[in-house]
């Protein structure tokens, strides 16, 4: 609690913390670059119909799901790669990737005690509270967070299940949900992101191995944050997780997602799909701190993060809020979106994206206004440093029936150093004369005056930059749940390390 308050009220103190953290890292700039040595089970490299069938049988899919995967696979084969993004994406050799890698286990663990201690150790290193007792033993007043941990292709553990079950909340891996709640999965899977949506989502539909599933029943306010932690560990492995969250009428859930990967010289593909469904009067808050390995200073290695995230605000008065802090990945291609179908529904997108060194990001959102009096709000803060290149790409579309629709968009970019790029590409489309849309964007750098002012008060240059950047991002950071905000804020300082010329 106190540290979170410090974030809000005393940015200077927190900038110091950031600087200390940077110092403590020494040469190991990517804190999560370690690898876990654990016995893995792999399917052969490459993708074909047999691999899809193999994954399906490993997951003990019902027949309809296998068919769905196969349909997706056949569409995927003829589908072109997206070309419109600004980063040049090197040709991906889809046959040189493992599509199934799982920690070897003879039986499914029944409780955390049966999970391989090495795995638990990995998550401990990442600072993820998998063991419930650790959370309980933590600082007094620390909120409980239920965690679903996905290691390479499979979910290894889900905590707090019992507490949640008491409320009727389902929080489990999606492969489990396929068996325990087939009617929900069948009804909603692919209903927001159809498998034919784009090349990456299509591949995911064919080969997804795990991910999280959440169902919040009518009128239930989820008593704790739900969280998934994704970890790519194995070499040459793609990660294709799939998340499905359904908030039934009048319910509320806050969901956190974190991700890391070891430091490797080759590029690894992460092609996830996230689908959110909010029914009447329901609200979903989805927060991401994305810290996949970004590659080294020369752009060697790093994750290709090609993710399709979309929410359907189906019900009247429903609300979905996306918050993302993007600091990792070699290439990011990601547009968390909202389809505002229900009358009076609300979509929000808050984003901080930091690119440094040779990182490239093309990220933003889409807000599709279909229902009456739908509202959307977009706040995007982009920081580009080193030789990085970053693009905000966002679509706001108002359809003829969306009487009284409102959108406000604010996109600000900050450039650090003269070798990076920052671009803003909004698409604003209105077909309703009662809609009101407003877009503003600015691009600037940290002014010499600001910097000098900080230095003259005794701050180091990196400290000063971290401080100013944190101020620049404040509006977005404030929307993160507290325990995440502190983490994210530190990450900003670390990500910008070495950006001062």
């Amino acid at each position: 609690m106190s540290s979170a308050n410090a974030f809000v009220t005393d940015a200077k103190e927190s900038a110091r913390e950031t600087a200390e953290q940077v110092g403590a890292l020494g040469l190991d700039k990517y804190k999560y670059g370690f690898e876990t040595d654990i016995e893995m089970e792999f399917a052969p490299k490459g993708v074909n119909e047999d691999i899809v069938r193999l994954i399906s049988s490993k997951k003990e899919d019902p027949e309809w799901l296998l068919e769905w995967r196969l349909r997706a696979f056949s569409v995927w084969q003829d589908m072109p790669e997206p070309q419109w993004q600004k980063p040049h994406v090197p040709q991906i050799d889809y046959q040189d990737i493992y599509y199934y890698a799982a920690p070897k286990q003879t039986n499914k663990p029944q409780s955390l005690d049966e999970v391989d201690p090495k795995l638990l150790e990995t998550y401990e290193k990442l600072g993820i509270p998998l063991k419930e007792q650790e959370v309980l033993a933590g600082v007094q007043g620390a909120p409980k967070v239920a965690v679903d941990a996905v290691f390479d292709s499979v979910s290894v553990a889900t905590t707090y299940k019992k507490t949640l079950e008491a409320e009727g909340i389902v929080f489990c891996s999606i492969s489990e949900a396929v068996h325990t709640h087939p009617e929900l999965v069948k009804k909603y899977l692919g209903s927001v992101v159809p498998y034919s949506d784009n090349k990456h989502a299509c591949l995911n539909s064919a080969v997804f191995t795990d991910g999280s599933f959440v169902y919040i029943p009518k009128g239930v306010r989820c008593p704790m944050e739900l969280s998934t932690y994704f970890r790519i560990n194995a070499e040459n492995t793609g990660q294709f997780e799939r998340t499905l969250i359904i908030a039934d009428e009048g319910s509320y859930v806050s969901y956190l997602e974190g991700c890391t990967a070891p430091q490797r010289d080759e590029n690894q593909l992460h092609a996830a799909v996230v689908e959110l469904i909010a029914l009447d009067d329901a609200e979903i808050k989805y927060s991401t701190v994305q810290n996949w390995y970004p590659g080294d200073e020369d752009g060697k290695g790093g994750i290709y993060n090609f993710v399709t995230k979309r929410a359907a605000c189906r019900g009247k008065n429903s609300k979905v809020s996306w918050t993302q802090v993007e600091t990792g990945s070699a290439i990011t291609w990601k547009y968390p979106s909202c389809i505002l179908q229900g009358d009076n529904s609300v979509g929000e997108f808050y984003s901080v994206a930091i690119t440094n060194n040779r990182q490239e990001a093309d990220t933003g959102t889409k807000m599709i206004h279909l229902g009456k009096n739908t509202r959307s709000r977009i706040i995007s803060k982009g920081i580009s440093a080193g030789r990085a290149d970053q693009t905000y790409r966002g679509l706001v579309r108002v359809m003829p029936r969306a009487d009284g629709a409102r959108n406000f968009t604010q996109c600000d970019s900050l450039l650090i150093g003269g070798n990076c790029g920052a671009h803003t590409i909004p698409y604003i489309e209105s077909r309703n004369p009662t809609a009101q849309l407003e877009h503003e964007a600015t691009t600037s750098r940290i002014s010499e005056d600001q910097l000098f002012y900080c230095l003259s008060r005794g701050l180091g240059e990196e400290e000063a930059i971290a401080l100013i950047v944190n101020g620049f991002c404040k509006e977005v950071m404030q929307t993160l749940p507290m325990e995440f905000a502190v983490e994210a804020q530190k990450l900003i300082g670390i990500s910008l390390e070495g950006s001062v010329g």
Partner: protein
């Protein structure tokens, strides 16, 4: 027909191409497949006719009838017609009116692609007027390309009026290059009934250059008005300003694709861009894509875009003073567009534009 048009027609851009996402040229293809596009017969070129409201501005006038230049005694010493295009040496201080008139009547489909290059002199001031009007109601496809080289400290003021018929397609392109300290101040008023796309590219190639692109448009019936701009900052300490406003009624569609590109060495750039649109009808549409592409860090760049309806507070305020609702709406619509005309420095042109705008708003 020119090679250029033939090539263009044989490979029409489609909406799958990013730059043509919002402007569909299928109708041009349909004419090609139907009556077929032809060049206007030379005889027509003798018919000099009225060139719209800008005719009342005293200027050297160069008329293009269906794409063919009509050279008069007045203009013979400033233009030379070359195989690769028309070279023009405008007189400093004397306005030059480039008047494009379409005369095609029903059943005809005239295509032309006049190519003009203007050479200005260092330190001199020029006033350029451009108009696109129609006498006939037949199909016309006019693809004028104007290129302007502005050497050191030259100043060019440019006012353009696009007021074509419903069967007119105008795909115009203007490319301006500004050397050190040079200025380009352009304004386009678009009120035509057909399909108009104006691509304007200004390259700030020298330090301390200044470029302004202004525009106002009225979409009515099923008109389609597209402004696609690109301002390239290649040199340091230059300034650019883009300010477009549009009103869309009927089933019309407005498109604004504006881009500010700041190259790596263009430090000290100030680039501003704004597009505001007012939608008046449930069948009208507006699509805006204001873009910033920036590779230098010492910059001040911003863009803003709004789309909306008439402000209810303003409407109530007018009505509370006894002004009937229809009248109040018309006043606010006109005021919305008139604000952008204040960017035109030549009072005579501003007055002509104001009057024309009022007429066209009344025609809705």
């Amino acid at each position: 027909m020119t090679k250029e048009i033939e090539n263009f027609l044989s490979d029409l851009p489609t909406r799958r191409e990013e730059g043509w996402k919002y402007t569909d040229l299928k109708a041009i293809g349909a004419v090609a497949e139907g009556a077929g596009w032809t060049s206007a017969p030379a005889a027509r070129a003798q018919r000099l006719s009225e060139t719209g409201p800008l005719a009342e501005i005293d200027a050297d006038t160069l008329v293009f009838v269906d794409g063919n230049p009509v050279v008069s005694d007045e203009t013979s010493d400033i233009i030379s017609v070359m195989p690769e295009g028309i070279e023009i040496a405008p007189r400093p201080g004397r306005p030059l009116h480039l008047a494009f008139v379409s005369t095609a009547i029903d059943g005809e489909a005239f295509a032309s692609s006049p190519k003009l290059s203007l050479a200005a002199k260092a330190g001199q001031h020029y006033a350029l007027i451009e108009s696109h009007t129609a006498i006939g109601t037949g199909n016309t496809l006019c693809m004028p390309r104007i290129s302007i080289e502005a050497p050191r400290d030259a100043v060019i003021k440019h006012a353009a009026l696009f007021d074509e018929s419903a069967a007119g397609f105008t795909l115009s392109r203007i490319d301006v290059t500004l050397d050190q300290g040079a200025e380009y101040d352009g304004f386009a008023l678009q009120t035509g009934l057909g399909l108009t796309r104006r691509e304007a590219t200004v390259t700030l190639a020298g330090e301390h250059g200044f470029a302004r692109l202004g525009g106002a448009y009225v979409g009515r019936d099923s008109s389609h008005i597209d402004n696609t701009t690109l301002v390239v900052h290649n040199a340091a300490n230059a300034r650019s300003l883009q300010d477009f406003r549009g009103v869309l009624d009927g089933e019309s569609r407005g498109v604004f694709q504006g881009k500010v590109l700041v190259a790596k060495d263009a430090q000290g750039t100030d680039g501003q861009q704004q597009h505001k649109a007012l939608l008046l009808s449930p069948k009208a549409e507006v699509d805006a894509k204001p873009e910033l592409e920036i590779y230098a860090d010492d910059v001040q760049c911003a863009h803003g875009a709004t789309v909306g309806a008439i402000d209810q507070n303003q409407l109530f305020y007018l009505r509370a003073r006894g002004i009937p609702e229809d009248h109040a709406r018309a006043m606010l619509t006109e005021a919305f567009l008139m604000q952008s005309l204040s960017g035109i420095s030549d009072m005579a042109i501003r007055d002509v534009f104001r009057a024309h705008l009022t007429t066209r708003l009344g025609d809705r």
